[in-house]
């Protein structure tokens, strides 16, 4: 097996992060880019997300998922980017040895100058939330059903119950109703909605699908196929309330209980993960702690809107290409190198404090040139239904603050650090700042 060293940048994953990353990497100059996708088409999860709700930030338009993906796909096809579909990356080393395979070319070995991890995420499953009961047929994750109904063209049942008020669950509740199935309700363990409110309105309320908060599944009943689900109310400590059990007849149970970044390859490459996000620790250039390996999108942390995934991909692509150019190209042409992002200034870490679940990026490269804007993505972990202040603390001193109308775990807070804010970061005393929501 010979090692192909001709690529400057290899992007792993052809979803929204990978597509944007490949395009921006290619746009940096004479950069050879390879995009590797496991599926038989580009777009990641978007082709099965046939609902609208994508593109407001990037395209200023409300688009269905397939159309959002199509716009990027067209650009990639026009941009002299090599694409390998139906190809699985099997192994990745800290030295950027990448092993991939497909049925046409067999086993392949590459060593590009930089790599972008854009593997996305996977759904949490029944085992992870330890649902008790029978292991019959009829229990699916919402994303699997979305694929079956929208891509494969099959309905996996007739009468559905949905566990989890995440967006995919609510969107599937509407989707299944539109296709003539009965959706008997959506259960949510927590006392509040975990997905976006707009989806509650347009997916549940509009179709008269009841939502039951503080309720979960206590038993799954059925021999070969699901026959019924037992539900139970929970108290403030999320413990079942005795006597509140109800039996709901249904032949399918959909789980929409969260997403987890997909980082098996990151770990193989020696990339360190943030235990809070479950994804690589990244700086504001989307560089991981392994030189030449970048990461973007849901692989780093679960995003709420695809537009910001694309934006993160753009950042990763740009900097991965610059890294590749600085470290010599296989084409012998290094003319566009020189804009040296990796040497620019010091780093400041940003640690989630009170009411903040996660922060992406976890470190900001100080660049006061005004050329680099940094988008800080915060995921609150507290539901606060009033105006809140987001503050960045340098030791015991707040150095900047932003106002938000509310704090909801379902929605990320987006703040762009421009030259002025960068200056404030540059003047911080501590190497680690704390961000809080108050």
């Amino acid at each position: 097996m010979t090692c192909d060293t001709s690529y400057d940048v290899i992007v792993i994953g052809g979803g929204p992060a990978g597509l944007a990353a490949a395009l921006s990497a290619r746009a940096e100059g004479n950069v050879r880019v390879l995009l590797i996708e496991r599926n038989d088409s580009l777009g990641g999860i978007l082709p099965q997300c046939i609902h609208n709700g994508f593109g407001a930030v990037i395209f200023g338009n409300d688009l269905p998922g397939p159309e959002y993906a199509y716009r990027y796909q067209e650009q990639v096809e026009a941009a002299d980017i090599d694409v390998m579909l139906d190809t699985m990356v099997m192994d990745l080393t800290p030295e950027r040895d990448l092993y991939a395979m497909n049925a046409t070319h067999g086993y392949l070995h590459y060593r590009p100058r930089s790599i972008i991890l854009a593997m996305g995420c996977r759904e949490r499953t029944r085992a992870q939330i330890r649902l008790p009961g029978s292991r019959c047929s009829g229990v699916y994750t919402a994303g699997t059903v979305q694929r079956l109904v929208n891509i494969e063209g099959y309905m996996p049942g007739r009468r559905f119950l949905i566990l989890g008020s995440g967006d995919i669950g609510m969107i599937m509740a509407r989707r299944l109703t539109i296709e003539g199935a009965e959706v008997v309700g959506v259960l949510e363990l927590l006392p509040f909605l975990t997905g976006l409110r707009r989806n509650f309105v347009q997916c549940l309320q509009d179709y008269n699908i009841p939502l039951h908060l503080s309720t979960t599944v206590s038993n799954i009943i059925g021999g070969q196929r699901l026959e019924a689900v037992e539900t139970v109310k929970v108290d403030e400590e999320l413990q079942p309330i005795p006597g509140s059990t109800e039996r709901i007849e249904c032949d399918s149970l959909l789980l929409s209980v969260g997403l987890i970044p997909e980082n098996e390859l990151s770990l193989k490459a020696g990339v360190h993960l943030d235990p809070r996000t479950g994804g690589p620790l990244v700086d504001s250039t989307m560089a991981t702690d392994v030189p030449g390996i970048y990461a973007a999108g849901n692989v780093t942390s679960i995003y709420d809107l695809v537009d910001y995934v694309s934006k993160a991909g753009e950042v990763a692509g740009r900097h991965a290409a610059r890294y590749a150019l600085e470290h010599g190209t296989g084409n012998g042409n290094n003319a566009t190198a020189g804009r040296d992002a990796s040497k620019a200034g010091a780093m400041v870490a940003i640690r989630p404090g009170e009411n903040v679940g996660t922060v992406i990026p976890q470190r900001v490269r100080i660049d006061t040139s005004g050329n680099e804007e940094v988008t800080l993505m915060l995921r609150p972990n507290a539901l606060i239904e009033r105006k809140v202040t987001v503050e960045l603390w340098d030791g015991d001193r707040p150095i900047m603050s932003f106002r938000e109308n509310y704090s909801r775990p379902a929605e990320m807070m987006v703040h762009t650090l421009r030259a002025k804010q960068m200056q404030a970061l540059a003047e911080a005393h501590e190497h680690e700042l704390t961000v809080v929501i108050q």
Binding site: F192, L193, V201, L211, H212
Partner: protein, 149 residues
């Protein structure tokens, strides 16, 4: 407890305001509406006069928000995303949607109407599947492409 009891969405937010409207028709009332025109999902506070007219709105970031609220009060409109069958394609279905919203009450009617449609591959993105459905000025358009098998 249902969600509706806990967070009134698109309903009156204050009992007092509701009582005002019931008993003294000319009093103002407040309504909180989540804008569905884009994924941002602004929560728009609207003050209505006793006859359903808008006195004041705030919380929207763009003019689409005002349009949305106006429609929501008089004639709620929604976008329908679904799919239709494809014959001889690489995939059995192509996604479709109504780029312009249709009256909320007609969503399931249109959904049912799409069930019997079958397109012949190849299908391009942006292809009009139904033009001006039932004279409502709304087209059903593909949002994806399917190559011929």
């Amino acid at each position: 407890m249902s969600f509706c009891e806990q967070f009134p969405v698109g309903e009156q937010t204050s009992d007092a305001a509701g009582a005002d409207r019931d008993e003294r028709g000319s009093e103002n009332s407040e309504q909180s509406i989540i804008c569905l025109r884009c994924p941002r999902g602004c929560e728009i506070s609207t003050t209505l006069d006793g006859y359903g007219g808008i006195v004041e709105i705030f919380g929207n970031v763009c003019k689409l928000g005002r349009e949305y609220v106006e429609a929501e009060i008089t004639n709620p409109l929604r976008i329908l995303p679904t799919s239709v069958r494809v014959r001889s394609g690489e995939r059995p279905l192509v996604p479709v949607w109504t780029p312009k919203p249709i009256p909320k009450g007609r969503l399931m009617d249109l959904a049912r109407a799409t069930r019997s449609i079958e397109l012949e591959a190849p299908v391009a993105i942006g292809q009009v599947v139904i033009e001006n459905w039932e004279g409502l000025g709304v087209d059903l358009v593909t949002s994806g492409a399917v190559r011929r098998a």
